[in-house]
């Protein structure tokens, strides 16, 4: 009898101890925020253009976490949809054309002599990439511009252009070879034939 009681007592004691440890761990190592939203947000292009119908990328990330379709972000395009599909383990669908189409990367450029300094574009820019002051000429910091288009519409004198970022020698990248049965002129070690001829 005593052994039974002892056993029960020990077990109770143990469960209490482990319970306390687990409880403490839960509090101590509590994860803040919503990790899935963060993960989704990390995949979105952060252009903050609102084409998805949300006021920025994070709200769309939240919406996706709540079940919205993953194909509403034109700047991200197919690659973002693919990444989201991988993350959420759903099927990758084509981009929803209602929200816009994927286009080449662009930056806003202000035709500076036409700017009347109304500051509207500053207010519209989601990433503070426009510099200027009231009644002064404004300019876009090209490096910070996400190409979201949001400053174009408010400009009362239509002096903002969206200019495609051309490829420079620094940003250029190699094309993918065309694949089987294609002849690549840039094949390396093309002197192999010479060796055969030897």
């Amino acid at each position: 009898m005593l052994t039974v009681l002892l056993a029960i007592g020990i077990l109770v004691l143990l469960s209490l101890i482990f319970g306390a440890i687990l409880g403490y761990a839960n509090v101590r190592f509590h994860v803040e925020g919503d990790p899935i939203v963060d993960q989704i947000d990390a995949l979105l292009p952060q252009t903050q253009c609102g084409q998805c119908g949300h006021p920025g990328c994070r709200p769309y990330a939240e919406a996706i976490a709540n079940g919205e379709a993953i194909n509403h972000c034109p700047p991200g395009g197919q690659s973002t949809i693919q990444a989201l599909a991988d993350l959420l383990d759903v099927e990758a669908v084509p981009l929803d054309g209602d929200h816009g189409t994927e286009s080449a990367k662009r930056v806003a450029v202000i035709r500076e002599d036409e700017c009347i300094g109304c500051t509207k574009c500053i207010q519209a820019c989601p990433v503070d990439a426009i510099l200027g002051a009231a009644k002064q000429m404004h300019t876009v910091i090209a490096d910070e511009c996400t190409g979201c288009d949001l400053c174009v519409e408010p400009c009362p004198v239509d002096c903002i252009d969206m200019v495609e970022i051309g490829v420079t020698a620094k940003t250029w990248s190699w094309d993918k070879p065309q694949g089987i049965a294609a002849t690549s002129l840039d094949i390396i070690a093309t002197d192999r034939q010479a060796e055969v001829a030897h």
Binding site: T146, P156, A169, W174, P177, A181, S184, D191
Partner: protein, 900 residues
């Protein structure tokens, strides 16, 4: 063997490698050549890894040979020097030697043929001064790694100090077929090379200094041995067997030290430093002769050249010039390659210049470099794996690259691939493996950069949001404070205004009994309130705290009572609405100043009360009643402030009492603005309601609505401001002295109107978007109706129409104001003219832009063609008149200037 000759080092081996035909003999038949000066030298600003240099010269500048023409731009960057004396003829985009075939910014130098050197200042005391200074000097001499990608040497040397150096390796292997430039350099400049190595050894203080050279360069090896023995140097010479790619940095390190550089690390991490022979010679020339890096040894070879040879060539020399020098046969030339056949790239144009890293120009004939066979499927033969000097699994990498599984490719150490081409060389399926790797690498790099940019954008976006929230909170707090003040004022003002307004209003139209009674009640209540307020004022002046709070309570009660009465009054059908009352006030200017005083007192009082309530609110933040009260007060306060501003403007106009018409114009405009303000306020209320509802049911749209609320409030605020402005503006315009300010305020009003317009448009867009969204979400029509968006849309459209109609109006106002300014404000006529011209220009630009926009709209929405056309016509008229005015103004300006 090692023991006999202490200067020969032990040689290990590395995995893989291939033995392609060497083809080195061709270019060694002739001695070192010296091509003539070309007609122009093209010097790209980005000849090295890192930031492009910044040009120091302007077009037209005369430079001497060796003069600095561009300086470094940041840490990882380099200097650039004039290779000969001459004139800078352009700084522009030119084709550069790059696999992309793109252009980049270049300094173009036209030689004068004199080769006049600038003053050379050798660093003779390099042994005595600090090493940092020597490194800085090397940087200023434009020295970069001449073997590989052009890594700035001083940066590499600095990095070498991370760990104590066990080995300092000089790379003379030159393993790639065809290239003999280093071989020739060693033969020609043996002494300089050894002296350069000694300088470097002084700088890095390595335990072992080893020259690694392939055994296919017997002449160079012999020359080196002679010099080393002569100088009794402890530099070791390691002759490695010929195998491609023994000249790869990591491979040579493995050959000479037996140590492998771990994946993702640099040689410096394991205590090894590698330098190319060309770099060593350049360092020697820079330090002992003060000569900056302006030329290099380059191999010109290939079947298409009749006299293949090595040349010492100035940077910037166009490849075409060198081809001519080496007698190329254009018929034979099938591919022009910069670099060797394994790691080089095809040039699209011979106009590109030689840069610091160009070691070879290969003008290959068709027979020499035939078109590669078409790619076939990988047969998993494993030959590429055997050949890979980096011990990678090329077929695995190919698989991942083809399927764009970049993450997996990275896990298989894609970035350890040195792009040597050994795998492509052995692949029986002729797969351009390196192409695939290069593509994958650049895709990964691009994605990384995009990620960095996205992070930055996110940071900035979040920072902006935080700032905006803080601003909004501050504004909200201020608004609350103001509202508190206004409520008090408003109630007072209400008492005050109707007290005076009603008699006149009541006199004219027949009011029914009920409203009369109510009015009487109100009047009584107000007089009581007035008394109380007077007491309160006194108390405030004497700072009797208890009394104040007491009295304030009473005042509030009284106010409530009056408010209730007034509400009732408003409900009675024939009650005089506020606007007519205001009009009548204007009509009878006499009592204005009295009223004004009172209204002002009221505003002050309400402010005090509001503050108190807010204090209470802070203490008991959950008290809903209190909040409601505050809100009520705020509304009242606004109303009171309105009245004050109205009254004050009236007072001004009546004291100035000169022009009757401005008032008329004003009242018209005023009315419109008031309507706008009222609409805006209504919108605010509606949105607030929606917000409450949304919050109740925890709808996800709550956030969006809240934002809208903010916007709506902003709109309302702005309209109110506008309401206050034209009133003050118009009366000021009448008296002569105030003309310039009138202009300003006019401009401001116009601006505000524009802002309103844009906001209204945005409102429409948003409403439309939201409706669309609801539809997209599959909501029923009725639900959409319930969401109030359609209503909002209609409202916004109306407002837009009103605003657009109004926008036509300001032009004449401005015009009337300007002539006044012209004829009478002669204080600074020219300045005024200038500003006016500017303003008119803006107006013209605006009108033009609007026409553009309208035209666009016309195209997209033909249904609305009629109204749009009308708008266009109106805008065009405006444009014309603005242009006419502008012309006049400019004319008068020129006249004035001529008169002087």
């Amino acid at each position: 063997m090692r023991t006999e000759k202490p200067q020969t080092a032990k040689v290990f081996s590395f995995h893989g490698g291939i033995h392609p035909p060497e083809n080195k003999a061709q270019s060694l038949q002739l001695p070192l050549g010296k091509p003539s000066l070309p007609s122009e030298l093209i010097l790209p600003l980005g000849q090295h890894i890192g930031q492009s240099s910044r040009p120091l010269v302007k077009v037209g500048d005369k430079v001497l040979k060796g003069e600095t023409i561009a300086i470094n731009n940041g840490f990882l960057s380099s200097f650039l020097h004039a290779p000969t004396s001459g004139t800078i003829t352009a700084i522009e985009e030119r084709l550069i030697a790059h696999p992309s075939g793109l252009s980049d910014l270049c300094i173009v130098l036209t030689p004068d043929g004199n080769e006049t050197w600038t003053d050379l200042e050798p660093l003779n005391n390099w042994q005595d001064i600090s090493k940092t200074d020597v490194l800085a000097y090397l940087s200023e001499m434009g020295i970069v790694g001449m073997g590989g990608a052009g890594f700035p040497t001083q940066v590499k040397l600095q990095g070498a100090h991370k760990n104590p150096l066990t080995h300092f390796i000089i790379n003379a292997a030159e393993c790639e077929p065809y290239i003999t430039a280093d071989d020739m350099l060693i033969r020609e400049k043996t002494l300089e090379l050894v002296a350069g190595i000694e300088i470097l050894q002084h700088l890095v203080e390595a335990e072992n200094v080893i020259i690694g050279i392939e055994d296919n360069k017997p002449t160079a090896i012999a020359a080196l041995k002679t010099v080393l023995t002569q100088r009794n140097s402890d530099i070791q010479l390691a002759v490695v067997p010929t195998k491609y790619p023994s000249g790869g940095e990591k491979q040579l390190i493995q050959l000479l030290t037996g140590k492998e550089v771990p994946s993702g690390q640099y040689p410096a991490d394991i205590g090894v430093l590698c330098q190319n022979v060309g770099t060593c010679v350049a360092i020697h020339d820079a330090i002992t002769q003060g000569k900056p890096l302006i030329s290099r040894f380059t191999t010109l070879t290939g079947d298409a050249l009749k006299s293949p040879q090595n040349v010492e060539v100035l940077f910037g020399t166009p490849v075409a010039h060198l081809l001519e020098y080496a007698d190329y046969e254009s018929k034979k030339l099938s591919r022009l390659i910069m670099g060797g056949p394994m790691m080089g790239y095809t040039l699209d144009s011979a106009a590109v210049p030689i840069v610091k890293t160009s070691n070879c120009i290969l003008a290959a004939s068709k027979k020499e470099l035939p078109a590669p066979a078409p790619e076939q499927a990988c047969i998993r033969c494993g030959m590429c794996e055997q050949a890979c000097p980096a011990s990678l699994l090329p077929q695995q990498l190919l698989w991942f690259s083809k399927s764009q599984e970049f993450e997996k490719a990275e896990h298989h150490n894609l970035f350890d691939c040195i792009e040597c081409g050994a795998c492509s060389y052995v692949c029986p399926s002729s797969i351009p493996l390196v192409q695939y790797y290069r593509h994958s690498k650049s895709s990964i790099r691009e994605a990384r950069e995009a990620n960095v940019k996205a992070d930055l954008a996110k940071q900035r976006f979040e920072a902006r949001k935080a700032r905006q929230d803080a601003e909004a909170a501050e504004k909200e707090a201020k608004r609350l404070a103001r509202q508190k003040a206004t409520t008090n004022k408003a109630t007072d003002a209400k008492k005050a205004a109707p007290a005076k307004a009603t008699p006149t209003a009541a006199a004219a139209p027949a009011t029914n009994d009920e409203s009369k009674k109510l009015k009487v009640d109100i009047a009584i209540g107000k007089s009581k309130l007035k008394k109380l307020q007077k007491q309160l004022l006194e108390a405030q002046e004497n700072e009797h705290v208890e009394e104040i709070s007491n009295l304030q309570l009473q005042v509030t009660d009284q106010e409530k009572a009056i408010a209730a009465l007034e509400e009732q009054l408003a409900k009675t059908p024939s009650a005089a609405p506020a606007a007519p009352a205001a009009n009548t006030e204007k009509a009878t200017p006499a009592p204005v100043s009295d009223e004004l005083k009172k209204a002002k007192v009221d505003v002050a009082l309400i402010g005090v009360k509001l503050k108190k309530l807010q204090k209470q609110l802070v203490e008991t933040p959950d008290d809903q009643e209190l909040k409601d009260k505050i809100a009520a007060f705020e509304a009242d306060l606004k109303a009171a402030q309105d009245i004050v501003s109205k009254l004050s403007s009236n007072a001004q106009s009546s004291t100035n009492a000169t022009a009757a018409e401005p008032k008329a114009v004003m009242s018209d405009e005023l009315k419109k603005l008031k309507i706008d303000a009222a609409i805006a306020k209504a919108a605010v209320k509606k949105v607030e309601k929606a917000l409450k509802k949304a919050e109740e049911i925890k709808a996800p749209e709550a956030d969006a609505i809240r934002q809208q609320l903010k916007e709506a409030q902003q709109r309302a605020d702005e309209l109110e401001k506008a309401l206050a402005n034209p009133e003050t503006a118009a009366p000021k315009a009448a008296p002569e002295k105030a003309a310039p300010t009138a202009e300003n305020t006019d401009a401001e009003a116009a601006k505000k109107r524009k802002i309103d317009l844009a906001i209204a448009k945005a409102g429409i867009k948003k409403a439309e978007k939201n409706i669309q969204l609801l539809k997209d979400q599959g909501k029923e029509e009725s639900e959409i109706e319930a969401s109030e968006w359609p209503k909002k849309l209609i409202e916004a459209q109306q407002k837009l129409a009103a605003l657009e109609a109004e926008e036509g109006a300001p032009a004449p106002v401005e015009k009337t104001a300007e002539p006044v300014a012209n004829s009478e404000a002669k204080a600074e006529p020219e300045m005024d003219l200038a500003t006016q011209i500017k303003k008119e220009k803006v107006a013209v630009a605006l009108a033009k832009a609007q026409i553009n926009k309208l035209n666009k709209r016309l195209e997209s929405t033909p249904e609305e063609a009629e109204s749009i056309k009308q708008e266009i016509a109106a805008t065009e008229q405006r444009l014309q008149s603005a242009e006419a005015l502008l012309e006049k103004l400019i004319h008068s300006q020129t006249n004035m200037q001529e008169n002087r």
